[in-house]
Structures are given as C-alpha cells and as structure tokens.
C-alpha cells in the first residue's frame, strides 16, 4: 500500500514536472510521442577551441557553436549529449582524444571545432569522429566573415545530415508573405527565422509563393498588373517572367524534378488546375469540372497531384495522376478541407480542416488511411508546408492574435514561432 502511494506520488510529480514546463499556449495539447523510426544519434558538441588572442575568433566560436547546437536539436536525427556530462570526463584536447572517455558518457559522434583568425576572416576547422571506431569520418575547413557565421554552422549541420543519409535542409530557405512594409510582399528567411530578406518591392499584393526544388525560382501571384497573374521570380538573377495572365492565377507548385509547374487558374472561366513547363511555357489544362479545383501539390515521384475540389459540395482533398486522369477522393470526415501538402516521403498529406470556425492542421497517412490532428488550438492554422526531410511542418497561425509563421514537428512537438514583424503567412519550404 505504502509502495503504491510512493509510486503514485512519483507519478504525480512527473506529471507536474511535465505540465509545469514552459508552455507557449494554454490551449496547446501536451503530446508525448515516442520518436519515429530509429532512436536519435547521440552526438557530443563540446565548446570549440579558439585562438585566445582573437576576440573575433571567440565570437565566431560562440556563434557557430550555438547555431550548430540549435540545428542539431531541431533535426530530430541527433540528440546532444548534455553539457554537464562533459564534466565527468577529461577536458577535450583536440590533439589527443580519449575516445573511451566519450564512450563512457554515451557519445556516438564527437564533433570537434577549432577557430583561428586570418586577417579579418576566421578559419573554422571541424572534425567529426565516430567514437566507437575511433576514426575521423568527416573533416571540413571553412573561411568566413562575421555576417555568414550562421551559414557556416548550417553548412556543418547539413554535412552531418548527409553523413547519415538524411536530407540536408539547414541551408535551405523559407519563402513567405509579409505586410511589414505596408502591403503583402515576398520575403525569405532561414529555416530558423533568421536573415529575413525582402524579395519584392512594389505597392501591389504579391502572394502565395512556392519554391522550385533547387530554390532558384519562386512561382507566385501578383496583382502588379491590375489582375492576379502568375509569375516566376528568379531572385538570384533578378528576372521576372509572367506565366498566366488571364483570369485569377494562383497556387503555383513546381514538380519535385523541377521540370513542371502546376497552378490554378480561371483563364477558361472556372477554377481549374493547369500544368506548364517550369519556364511557364506549354500550358495544359488537366481538370475539367464545373466545381472549384485548386491547391495542387505534387507527390514526391511527380506522378500524382493532390488537390482541393468542391465537386461533391464541400471542399475535399483529391488525388489524380499528373496528366489529370484517375481522380479519387482521399479525405473523409470533414466538410471543409483544403491546402494539401504531400510529404517528401510520399506517405502523408498534411491539410487544413475547418471545424466550428477554427482551422487546424491534420495529417492523412496514405498507407494506413488514418488521419491524425497536428494542431490543437482555438485559432486559424493554415497553409502547411513540409521541411525537405519531412520531419517538420511550417504553417501560418493567428494563435498569438496576429498571423505569424510557426514550425511544428511531425509528432506535434516543438512548436516555435519564426516571425514577429507585421503579419506573416503563406510560408513555403518545399513543393
């Protein structure tokens, strides 16, 4: 009996500890989920050593270490060995590494960084060791000026992802719409919300951007010519190409191989889905239905397209072949579903469902045909877009009052807000 009391007390304390932690929003459900697939790889990231005489090297060491640690924590691929565990072993000497020490604190991967200064630049040398085999598995040297320290860290994080066969995304960009400068314009930012950069400069609405897979081109809708037209912007070439300029043109989506561009247009009188070449040429219509057909999203193979249609009376999610044939409804159980986003692994489709004037994100698993709820808020959560590796979803939400862009993991953990200036929405990361 006493044992049971102790047990339940401990249980209660654990529960309290779990609930007392910092919670962003009172409505947010606590979701305790065991991580998908293999357990995370235990990685030790001791502080980088640097030239003691150089303040620039010290600043670089601090920044790069901090950003890299944040990247790896976000990855869900690696788990960081807690900093205090490093006190149990001999201090790191990059010239003579005692691998047994690191093994004793459950380290599988050891990342060692050294920074020196050369004129006004820093040289960052990073070595990655497999602790068990006591072998260096990756070595890199970077030269950088202070404005790209964050990028250096993201490059290292990407190398670590590639090392374990994961899709790297830390150097990728999120494109989105912000009204911070007066009207809706396109912006882009790092995955973590840093380096927010304006891309369009005019007094008309620029809207619904979508990256090409290589992130060299952005399809988007602009009212700049007095009509919602579809354009492709090449931000690194300063080039803008109109694609479709009759009717309302929107919801651009590049195919995963980057060769085609699907979009929605009313150019023939009704909201239909079209596919063009990636440069906007050779436009072909692929839906023929008097209902609203919109929001195309490619499967990762490029052979199918998910889309929204209200052909049965309310907006629902459908899948068709990329040529328009073999249309079938895949959603069920809701009466207002939209904005499908096909996951990079091809197994899941994230979408928005409206229930009682709230919008929440759901994930349909195409293999099990089960739908799980991703967000649980009294808010409008919209426009989901997957991270390139499929472990994270970005979306826009008004849960803080104004519309901002958030990131959440596939298992509903790790909700974080990426923007704060003005209102920010329609974020696109992939597809």
């Amino acid at each position: 009996m006493k044992k049971l009391a102790v047990f339940s007390l401990t249980f209660l304390l654990v529960l309290l500890a779990l609930t007392a932690g910092p919670r962003l929003f009172p409505q947010q459900e606590i979701v305790l989920t065991i991580r998908e697939g293999v357990p995370a790889i235990s990685l030790a990231l001791p502080p980088f050593s640097y030239e003691a005489s150089s303040t620039q090297a010290r600043e670089a060491a601090d920044t790069i270490h901090q950003v890299l640690a944040d990247d790896l924590r976000y990855s869900r691929v690696f788990s960081l060995v807690p900093r205090e565990h490093l006190n149990y072993i001999r201090p790191l000497n990059p010239r003579e590494i005692f691998f047994k020490d690191w093994e004793s604190i459950q380290t599988r991967i050891l990342v060692v960084g050294e920074i020196s200064q050369s004129q006004n630049r820093i040289i960052f040398e990073v070595k990655v060791y497999d602790v068990k085999s006591e072998r260096m598995i990756l070595g890199k040297r970077y030269q950088a000026e202070p404005d790209v320290y964050r990028l250096v860290a993201h490059r290292v994080a990407d190398e670590l992802m590639k090392l374990y066969g994961e899709k790297p995304f830390f150097t990728s960009k999120i494109v989105f719409v912000s009204n911070r400068d007066g009207n809706d314009e396109l912006y882009m930012m790092d995955y973590d919300g840093a380096n927010q950069t304006r891309l369009t400069f005019n007094k008309w609405r620029d809207y619904m951007p979508a990256w090409s897979p290589d992130q060299r081109a952005i399809a988007f809708t602009s009212y700049r010519a007095g009509n919602p037209d579809l354009y492709i912007l090449y931000p690194y070439e300063g080039k803008l190409v109109p694609v479709s300029t009759r009717g309302t043109n929107f919801s651009g989506a590049f195919s995963p191989d980057g060769k085609k561009l699907a979009f929605c247009s009313t150019r023939d009188g009704n909201s239909e889905i079209y596919v063009a070449n990636a440069d906007g040429s050779n436009v072909r219509r692929i839906t023929f239905n008097s209902a609203i057909d919109t929001a195309p999203s490619w499967s990762p193979t490029g052979r199918e397209i998910a889309f929204t249609s209200d052909r049965t009376g309310t907006p629902q999610i459908y899948i068709m072949d990329a040529e328009g044939g073999n249309v079938r409804k895949v959603s069920f159980g809701g009466n207002y579903l939209d904005a499908p986003a096909w996951s990079p692994d091809g197994e899941r489709i994230a979408f928005v469902s409206r229930v009682d004037n709230f919008f929440d994100l759901y994930i349909l698993n195409l293999k099990t045909n089960k739908i799980t709820k991703l967000t649980e808020t009294s808010a409008r959560n919209e426009s989901p877009s997957w991270s390139p590796d499929g472990r994270h979803i970005i979306f826009s939400s008004n849960l803080s009052g104004s519309i901002q862009i958030y990131s959440i993991d596939y298992d509903a953990s790790n909700l974080r807000c990426l923007t704060s200036q003005g209102e920010n929405k329609l974020a696109n990361w992939t597809n």
Partner: protein
Amino acid sequence: MKKFLVLFLTVILVLSFAASCKKKAKEVPPPPPPQAQEQPRVEKVEEPVLKEPVLTEEEIFMRKTLEEINQEKPLAMIHFDYDKYNIRPDAVPVLEANASWLKKHPTVKILIEGHCDERGTEEYNLSLGEKRAKSTMEYLTSLGISADRIRIISYGKSQPLDPGHDETAWAKNRRAQFLIIEK
C-alpha cells in the same frame, strides 16, 4: 399814408436783411482741405459671374473624375451567404438598380471585386471570391449589361471591410463590390 409807410419800412427791412445775409455769406471760411489720412475707397475685385446653362445629368457625370464618382458609390455592393456564391434574393433589387444605372451611363466600364470572410482558407477563398464576382457579372449580363463592360477580380479574404471576428463582420465581408474603371 400810414399803410404806405409800413410797407416801405417792411421793404427796407427785407432789403437790409438780404444785404446783411449777403455780407455774412462772404464771411464763411473756406472748407478745410481734404485730410491726408483719409482711407481710400475699398474696391471689391470680382470676376464677372458666368451664368451657365443648366447641365444635363450626363454632363455633370462626365465632369467628375473616376475617383469622385467611385466615392459617391453609385453602385451598391451585394452580400453572400457563408461558403456560397449564388445571388441572394435581397441582392436582386440592388443588382437591378445597378443595371439601370449602368444603362443610363452606357460608356461606363466596371470592375467587380469578389471578397470572402476570414473563415475560408487562402487558396479556396481566392476561387470563391472569383465565383462571387462571376455570378454577380452573370446576373448583370442577364439584365442586359454587355459582358465586355465588366471585368472581375478576386481578392479572397485579403481585403476585409470590417476587421472584426464575429458574424456581423463576416457577413459584411462576404461581398461583391463595384469599381468604375472607365466612363
């Protein structure tokens, strides 16, 4: 004789009075010279008033800028039901009035803007806004307004009329409104 004397005296008296009067008049000093500080007469400067002939309604209309005309809102907006784009019965008289105004001003071209409330998704609302603009246009053409006088545009939910988050605001925001773009 006595009578004659009286008359004579009277004549003398009158004459002498007249003489004295003459003398006195000579003694009146000349009027003072005009004072230097006297204000000049105020002259009112005015253009002559043009009296125009009475303008016809059309002439009054043609004199106004597009902006002035749009500010007067000669074409009333119509509203829609939640998630719907069909013309409601209460919108019919509004559209009929708009059609007869358009018939009275046959050179006018208009833009119909379709708008939605915030309870739709960005993607779907852009289509829904277009459907609302289109069904409005189709109703006007059924009333005899030529389709090439009408352009349509969808703004989705991006331009709410009422920034509120309740049914009153939503009902106001689900609308088709008219902009005169040519006259």
